[in-house]
């Protein structure tokens, strides 16, 4: 497996954005991550797929410490995640995250959702934060909704606001945790289009998703996880056309069948 990574990763860049080495995590007795090794280069787009319960969400949630790993090392942009709160805050400032259920703040307007963190975490003046927010709201094509509350928007619009909210912090890495799984089919495309745009601009992305079309379009590397392990990883063409392991083949046959 390590040789696969070596053939893919160096083409993109030498700088390392995220490095996980021998990461383990348990939920009580349940061993959810079993020795994950993963190096993400700057500008790399990685899609993580796998059956439910395989640990893929837990893996990316460890990268911004929403979950705590119990063994191994995670280094994000040169900062190691330990119990040091300063390190955790620094990593979280530089890593954006988009959730399956959007998790917008319902009591704040769209614009306030976007300006909150820049104002309070980055100490940006309010008018500057609003200018930045409007820039990213235009980028996700909903500037006209800025004064509305999240509850007044459709699911697809809410998810685009969530992406804009993360971008306002000018993150170095973006994590996506099944961003389209809670959306109605006709709204999936508008969110994926935004994500494809981001990928084209060179954002480092780790994306847990079952959108195989998206994986084929933008991913440098597709990772297949099962039962807490990385079973297989490869460039999308190789991964889809020539899967190596039986588990991958089974998974792909199920997911591409419909």
């Amino acid at each position: 497996m390590s040789d696969v990574r070596q053939t893919v990763a160096p083409q993109v860049g030498d700088d390392i954005a995220v490095q996980l080495s021998d990461v383990h995590k348990w939920y009580g007795e349940f061993h959810v991550l079993k020795g994950i090794n993963l190096t993400v280069s700057r500008g790399e787009r990685i899609v993580i797929c796998g059956p439910s319960g395989s640990g893929k969400s837990t893996l990316i949630r460890c990268i911004n410490r929403l979950e705590e790993h119990q063994r191994g090392n995670i280094v994000v942009d040169g900062v190691e995640l330990t119990n040091n709160l300063k390190n955790i805050d620094q990593v979280r400032r530089d890593v954006g995250m988009v959730f399956q259920h959007f998790n917008l703040f319902p009591h704040l307007t769209v614009l306030e959702n976007c300006t909150l963190a820049p104002i309070w975490v980055r100490k940006m003046p309010k008018d500057q934060a609003e200018a930045v927010a409007m820039k990213y709201l235009e980028r996700v094509r909903i500037p006209d909704q800025a004064r509305k509350y999240p509850g007044q928007l459709s699911g697809g619009q809410q998810q685009r606001v969530a992406i804009a909210r993360s971008l306002c912090m000018n993150p170095k890495v973006m994590l996506f945790d099944e961003p389209t799984s809670a959306l109605d089919p006709e709204m999936i495309k508008e969110v994926l289009d935004v994500m494809i745009g981001l990928a084209r601009e060179g954002m480092t992305m780790l994306c847990v998703t079952h959108e195989m079309g998206f994986a084929k379009t933008v991913a440098n590397r597709v990772i297949f996880m099962d039962r807490g392990e990385i079973v297989e990883q490869n460039a999308p063409n190789e991964f889809f056309n020539n899967p190596q392991s039986e588990r991958t083949k089974l998974f792909l046959s199920q997911i591409l069948a419909h």
Binding site: R93, M97, H107, P185, E186, I188, L192, E211
Partner: protein, 383 residues
Amino acid sequence: MADHISVQGHPGSVTSTDDRETASAVVKPPALALGPLGWVRANLFNTWFNSILTILILWLAYKIIPPLVNWLIINSVGPGEGVTAQACRASGGACWAFIHEKYRLILFGLYPYEEQWRPIASILIIVGLLGVSSNRNFWKPWLLAVWAAAAVVIGVLMWGGVLGLPFVRNTLWGGLPLTLILSVVGLVVAFPLSILLALGRRSDLPIVKSLCVTYIELIRGVPLITVLFMASVMFPLFLPTGVTIDKLLRAQIGLILFASAYLAEVIRGGLQAIPKGQYEAADSLGLTYWQKTRKIILPQALSITIPPLVNTFIGFFKDTSLVIIIGLFDLMSASKAALTDPAWRGFYKESYLFVAVVYFAFCFFMSKYSQWLENELHRGHKR
């Protein structure tokens, strides 16, 4: 990307929905035209059981309402020259002359008669500020400063001793100003304290958590009367000789301790109702614990706990009447004192009714205001 196109396109079903919509726009709901007689038959006499209930209620109303109107209005004795208790007793109606005679005592307790403009001014300041504070546009830092300034002004007014105002000991304070001071100061101090207690009870830090749990459970497990007794009788025993703390202050502290424990549990309920995703989103943006709590969690938690919070506020406002047992003359105790005048003995109904109306006015305002505030806070993000 091709995967989606097949999912998106269902042209047939889309057209049929449109057809149904245009058709339904034309059809109107059936008109429900019922005359008043028809309404009575359909709602009051539709079954034999409802008919019996209707007749029973009409009979009870006949039995209750006319005597009540007689007592309250027709046979009542209003204030006037030379109206005495004897005239009241002879009439058989309500004796409003008694209220006219005693309202100063009920509303202001033993406060010196000539100086009672001072408690009146204090009440007006408190009520006026409550009115200003109820407008959400004024929820700015300067409002806190205004409240602090008002507290000083009220202190000067009530105590006096400066600016040519004669000094009035706080053992002479009583009636409505005392009730308002005890409740407003109690809630203003207890509320932030209860937020800290509620946050502490959910803290990951074991010492903070166990301290908060112990405090809340201990105070909540004891009747308010006991807390007040302890504050007034037992607490001074622990103080070194020569040091005394004012009785009013002790009662106020007892009330604050009690209210904060109850409010903390209400607020904790609201904190628990906030979805985990809100905490995670705030964390992932790099907000610190206090930023997250202040900007994301508390605004939502407090807005959903408005009904139980106001419930506790109203209960607390009325519970201040328990200070009677440690000898403070709040509104309730003052009305009892008014009844001890030998010349006007026995007009319990009028006295309690008057006090009840005053309490009701304040509680009803709180209740109505909370409903309005709830709508106001939820208007934006309601789906």
